[in-house]
């Protein structure tokens, strides 16, 4: 919605989050970077809680997240909901490109978020003219696969405590890798316990009890949408966390 203040006249003429992420995956030339920066024009601000992509929506545009946090989710008719992914700046929200199939899940902003929008045909042209970008996006899809696999393992094999710990470890590492706020003061994680439950396959009631215990054990703190990890190493042991899958 808003567009008002804040957001500064931009950092040191810096690249946006998408460019930074793709550059980590494949060497980008100046022309590639320029093409990516051009996408800024299409960016719009989305209000916290607002929908970014609807399930069933045709992929007429690909939509990279430039700032903020979003989540992908699949809703059941009966009210059940599974959160499928947490998206950080640089991640692609939807219309991943080239596929004709409609979105198999929805995407919602968790914070105020800035999202670009590249029409599918313009996007095809970019991929053709910039093979390095195509390569980087392909690799990004493969890294996303690894994240999805880790999520499966989490849901399938770990109990509630390990599960939550693992999710928090993953987020800490991804935020750090993305150069996002990861001072020891914690980071923004604007999920209600209800939503955290939807991500972990747990009830909000049980989430509350698990958070309480992790807090008691001085591993974490979670208040007003701010997650503070007090002892990452110990949390990683609890979660049996191995960050290898997050690297390229």
């Amino acid at each position: 919605m808003t567009d008002s203040a804040g957001e500064a006249p931009s950092a040191p003429s810096s690249d946006n989050a998408l460019t930074r992420k793709l550059a980590r995956l494949a060497p980008l030339g100046d022309a590639d970077r320029l093409a990516l920066e051009g996408l800024e024009h299409s960016a719009e601000w989305i209000a916290p809680g607002a929908r970014i992509m609807a399930e069933g929506e045709p992929p007429t545009a690909i939509r990279p997240l430039l700032e903020g946090i979003a989540c992908g989710h699949k809703d059941f008719r009966d009210g059940r909901r599974q959160i499928i992914a947490l998206l950080l700046p640089g991640d692609i929200c939807g219309g991943h490109g080239r596929l004709r199939a409609p979105m198999d899940h929805g995407v919602r902003a968790l914070t105020r978020a800035r999202v670009a929008s590249i029409p599918a045909d313009g996007f095809a042209a970019i991929l053709e003219r910039h093979p390095a970008i195509a390569e980087a996006l392909h690799k990004a899809a493969l890294v996303d696969q690894a994240i999805l696999r880790a999520w499966i393992v989490n849901l399938g094999q770990r109990d509630a405590h390990e599960r939550m710990a693992h999710l928090f470890c993953e987020l800490a590492h991804r935020m750090e890798a993305g150069g996002l706020q990861r001072d020891d003061s914690g980071f923004r994680l604007p999920l209600t316990q209800q939503e955290l439950g939807s991500a972990l396959g747990l009830t909000s009631v049980h989430v509350n009890r698990v958070v309480k215990r992790l807090r008691t054990e001085t591993l974490i703190d979670l208040d007003h949408g701010v997650l503070r990890i007090h002892d990452l190493p110990r949390l990683e042991v609890l979660a049996d966390f191995d960050p290898a899958y997050l690297s390229n």
Copy 2:
């Protein structure tokens, strides 16, 4: 291992499973098809139960599955195991290409399987010279993502019966789409109940009870590694199955 008989002097000069799958994802020219057929040379037979890719293995080659069934899995030190994917002919077993990161999971043959092997550098050359193949592989990765997401939803939100039903529905549809045996006589699914449990996040004991009930309700039959679906529509209702995510 063996290489003996069977497998005929090849079907009507037909394409292999990989070519067929990629052709469904992007229009392939004759040169593209030729390049893909060339991979046949590198194909080798793998014994049922044998390892195709080890977790931690560097991705020195990409390995498409040409015939047979395989599964991706992640093992814990303490014996827990999560099966992450069931791979059908045309699927990529590992070394998905271009990424430097070592395999985050292992891959095992479930039946006797034929697997090609393309050295990473030769593969890079193919992608460069055949953008249509690169495009198809990118799309394949996106479809695989959708399958992984469905797997997450399955583990996170459904109870044991729905879960198993959903897995069987997915397999039926994927086999059909791949042109594999899907006569009403059922198809080969050489998973022990133990392994089925590893896929579904359940104990073998519980798997047994769930199978028993699905059998009693005349929905399916599962014997000696052959799954027979008696009433797919009813199974899909039970699983709340929507095949949309499997299409391109």
